[in-house]
Every structure is written in structure tokens, then in C-alpha cells.
């Protein structure tokens, strides 16, 4: 893990093994989404668990926006309001047969160092061991108080 992913950064969505995308790179990705006719929306959360699929939405999906500058504007608004949250941008394809997010990538991380996950081993019948993970940040702190 540490070899490919320094500092236990969470790796969800596209580009998450890369360095943080710059604003220009975000714009370029959004440009692609818009050129495909996808609706782009901004979501945020402070629970990094990989099974936490549905993040909070920042406003409505932007269906009739034509230029990436508008999306970046909302991303920045969201960054201002939730500097200690994960923020991601999702491109939703409404074409029949797809009807699903086609691209999703993180654009904001709450802290420089992310504490990562605790591996919990539970002894079960016989010598079976069941594994689960828990983010360190969710252990004792409730929502909106993590990563401070």
C-alpha cells in the first residue's frame, strides 16, 4: 500500500493515485464531461469509508451549463464552505442504458495527511477471521467535526 500510495491517501474514483489535480486540470476533465453531454455535479463528505457511496450534494446537478468555469466556480464555493471535507466532481450520463455516473474524481482533500483506516480482525467460529476496516476519523468524532 505505502509503495503506491504514500501517506494513506484515500483512493476513490478516477485519478486518485495521481497528485491532486490543479484547477486547470479539473477544468480540462470537466470540459470532457460537458463535451459528452454529461451533467456534472459537486458532492462532499467527511466519511472516507469506501462503502460510503452517496455523498452530500452541493446544489443541484448542473444540467445546462456549457463551460467548465461555472463548475469550477461551484467547486470553489464548496471548498470555501467545507474546507475540511472531501469534495468530488461527478459526470452523470443520462443516456438510456447508461443512466449512471461515468466519471468521478476527488478535487479536495480535508488535510495534507490523511490518517487512513484501522483494520479490525474479528475472531469467528473455528479459526476463521473476519476483516473490516474503519476510518480513524470516524471513530469518535461525529459528522462535521472530523479532520480538524
Amino acid at each position: 500500500m505505502a509503495m503506491t500510495n504514500p501517506g494513506s491517501r484515500i483512493t476513490q474514483g478516477t485519478f486518485s493515485f495521481l497528485h491532486d489535480l490543479t484547477d486547470d486540470e479539473i477544468k480540462a476533465q470537466v470540459e470532457y464531461c460537458l463535451s459528452q453531454g454529461w451533467a456534472v455535479n459537486v458532492e462532499f463528505t467527511d466519511d472516507p469509508h469506501p462503502r460510503n457511496t452517496y455523498w452530500e450534494m452541493w446544489g443541484l446537478p448542473m444540467f445546462d451549463v456549457k463551460d467548465p468555469a461555472a463548475i469550477l466556480y461551484e467547486v470553489n464555493e464548496c471548498r470555501k464552505a467545507f474546507p475540511h471535507h472531501y469534495i468530488r466532481v461527478t459526470g452523470f450520463d443520462s443516456t438510456r442504458g447508461w443512466e449512471t455516473p461515468r466519471l468521478s474524481f476527488i478535487v479536495n482533500r480535508p488535510t495534507e495527511e490523511e490518517p487512513g483506516f484501522r483494520l479490525i480482525r474479528t475472531e469467528d467460529e473455528g479459526r476463521t477471521i473476519r476483516y473490516t476496516i474503519q476510518p480513524y476519523v470516524t471513530e469518535e468524532k461525529p459528522e462535521n467535526e472530523r479532520y480538524r
Binding site: A2, M3, P6, H19, M62, D64, K66, D67, A69, A70
Partner: protein
């Protein structure tokens, strides 16, 4: 075991280092070539052909195009250029072509790579101002987001500001607008449009707005001959033609109509043509329906025009949408 990431290895930090190359003062630049490459001439030609008159406006558009082109050339030479503000204000009477020019403007700015997408979002007060507290800001921002990368055209912009009601939400929309006009200059161009006097009053009470708008374009009223030209062009586009007597009648119609209240320049001409078509259709039905020729379908006769109440009663025709 944490792997160290040297920040200088990250791509975002690598380009910054090299200083911009300084080109010698005598580096040649072919503006002509640049001009051709941008295809702007095509749009300007189209503007010349499709819009009758409006000489001062066309001149101004050419100047703006030249400025942008020179700016682009300067950029290639690594001369620092600040992005020019291109927010504009179109004033003029109704039907003088403000919206049409705004649409063309979006295309020109797109060709010159000043705006990225080149679409036009036309709005009025209703689209910007909300109905209750907290409704205006998201509504205005929504519209601004849609317009980003293109041109935002605010028709009758002075209605945004209502001095008689101090709790009016229009002021809030103006403030957001000003903020975005200043901070997102690269992202959108705002064009305000409206009647001259009302617009002047609007600027008096919003000096911040006035100072952020670099270009004030005043659209002149059309003369009689220009209106005739416009009429003929509209007819051509619709595949109709005036008979020689009808043309005379229409000229007389314009002369009379221009003196009457609520004359809306090209828009009045369009409405007059629409009504003439209606009367022509009625005339054809009432007459000999068996022996018509293609020519008959195309031609507007003088009686189609002279039946107008402009001639009969000396008042403008009622609004076709309201009459049955």
C-alpha cells in the same frame, strides 16, 4: 514506510520555473495572417450584409475586433497584456437590432478566442431576481453559470433597479452581477440593453455598473430608406416580393407609421409584412381560387398594404396577437 514525494517532481510545479522568453523588438508579426486565421472577416461581412445601416455600431465592432487581435499578437510576443474588459451597454429604441448585434457579438468574440463557447444567454429581470428573501442569489448565480464561456445579454437592464421600493431584491442581483463581472472577466461578457434615457438613469444610481462597462454603443433609429431596405430583405428571406405599386404603398406606409406612437423600427416593419401576408392570403381565397399562378402566391399587391388601419383610420394596426 512513507515514500517521500519531492514537490518539484509534481507536474504543476515544473513549468513555473523557466522565465518567459524575451523576443527581440524586431520580431516580425503578420497581423494580416492572424486576421485571416481568425475568420473574423467572415462574421464582419455577414454583419454588413444582414444588417442595414448601423454604421457607427459596425465601426465600433471593427475596433473591438482589432483590439482583440492586437492583444493576441502581443501575447504571442510575450508582451504582458491585461485582459480587456468587454462588458458592453447597448442603448437604442426598440427594433434597432440590439439583440441581433449581441448574438453576432458572441460569435465574433468566440472567433477571436475571447470567450470559449460563444453562446448567448438572453435574460430579463424575471430570470435574475427572486420573489422572496434568499431566492435572488441562487437564481442570479444559476443564470451566470449558464452564461459562462459566452455572453450574457440582459434586456431592459434598468428594471433590475427599482428605486421606489427599497426592499426590492433587484439590488442584490446587481451586486452579484458586479462581483462576477469583476472577478470572472475571463469567463463571460455581460451586455446590458435598453432605452437610452432609462439606461442613463440606471447608471446614475449604479455608478459601479457604469465604471465596469467599457463600451457604450448607441443604436441610431433607422431612416425611411433603410427601413425599406430592411423590408425588402425580410421579404426576400420569406420568398415574397412587392409589386412595383405595392412597394410605393409600403414606402408611404412607413412614412405614416414613423409619425405614429409606438413605432418600433425594424420590428414594426416585420409586423406590417406579417399582416400584409395575412391579407394577401385572404385576398387569394376570396378571389378566383382556380386560376392562380406561382407568381400570385409570391406577390404582395398594394391593396394588401393599403387595407392597413394606418391608411384607413390613421392609427397603428392592433396587435395581431390580440385581434382575432
Amino acid at each position: 514506510m512513507i515514500q517521500e514525494v519531492n514537490p518539484e517532481d509534481l507536474p504543476e510545479n515544473q513549468e513555473e520555473e523557466q522565465p518567459a522568453e524575451v523576443l527581440p523588438d524586431d520580431t516580425p508579426i503578420d497581423l494580416e495572417e492572424e486576421f485571416k486565421a481568425s475568420n473574423v472577416q467572415e462574421v464582419l461581412d455577414k454583419l454588413d450584409q444582414e444588417l442595414i445601416g448601423l454604421a457607427p455600431i459596425k465601426q465600433r465592432i471593427r475596433e473591438i475586433a482589432a483590439l482583440l487581435l492586437v492583444d493576441r499578437a502581443r501575447q504571442q510576443m510575450n508582451l504582458t497584456t491585461e485582459t480587456p474588459t468587454l462588458h458592453m451597454c447597448f442603448t437604442g429604441n426598440p427594433g434597432t437590432g440590439k439583440t441581433t448585434v449581441a448574438m453576432r457579438m458572441a460569435e465574433i468574440l468566440h472567433r477571436l478566442e475571447y470567450v470559449r463557447q460563444g453562446h448567448l444567454v438572453a435574460v430579463t429581470r424575471d430570470d435574475l431576481v427572486g420573489q422572496y428573501i434568499g431566492h435572488t442569489a441562487p437564481k442570479t448565480k444559476e443564470v451566470l453559470k449558464k452564461a459562462m464561456g459566452g455572453v450574457l445579454f440582459i434586456d431592459e437592464a434598468y428594471y433590475l433597479y427599482r428605486p421606489e421600493n427599497e426592499r426590492d431584491y433587484g439590488q442584490e442581483a446587481i451586486e452579484i452581477l458586479l462581483q462576477v463581472m469583476e472577478n470572472n472577466r475571463d469567463d463571460l461578457v455581460v451586455i446590458l440593453a435598453g432605452y437610452k434615457e432609462k439606461m442613463d438613469r440606471f447608471f446614475q444610481s449604479n455608478p459601479g455598473m457604469r465604471s465596469r462597462i467599457a463600451h457604450h454603443l448607441d443604436f441610431p433609429d433607422y431612416g425611411e430608406n433603410e427601413l425599406m431596405e430592411i423590408a425588402k430583405m425580410m421579404m426576400r428571406d420569406l420568398n415574397y416580393e412587392f409589386s412595383p405599386e405595392a412597394e410605393e404603398a409600403f414606402r408611404e406606409y412607413i412614412q405614416r407609421r414613423m409619425q405614429m406612437p409606438h413605432f418600433a423600427n425594424a420590428r414594426s416593419v416585420r409586423n406590417a409584412i406579417d399582416r400584409a401576408r395575412l391579407r394577401q392570403a385572404n385576398r387569394l381565397f376570396a378571389g378566383d381560387t382556380k386560376n392562380l399562378k406561382k407568381q400570385d402566391l409570391k406577390t404582395i399587391e398594394p391593396e394588401d398594404i393599403r387595407a392597413s388601419s394606418v391608411f384607413q383610420e390613421g392609427v397603428p394596426d392592433p396587435d395581431p396577437a390580440l385581434s382575432q
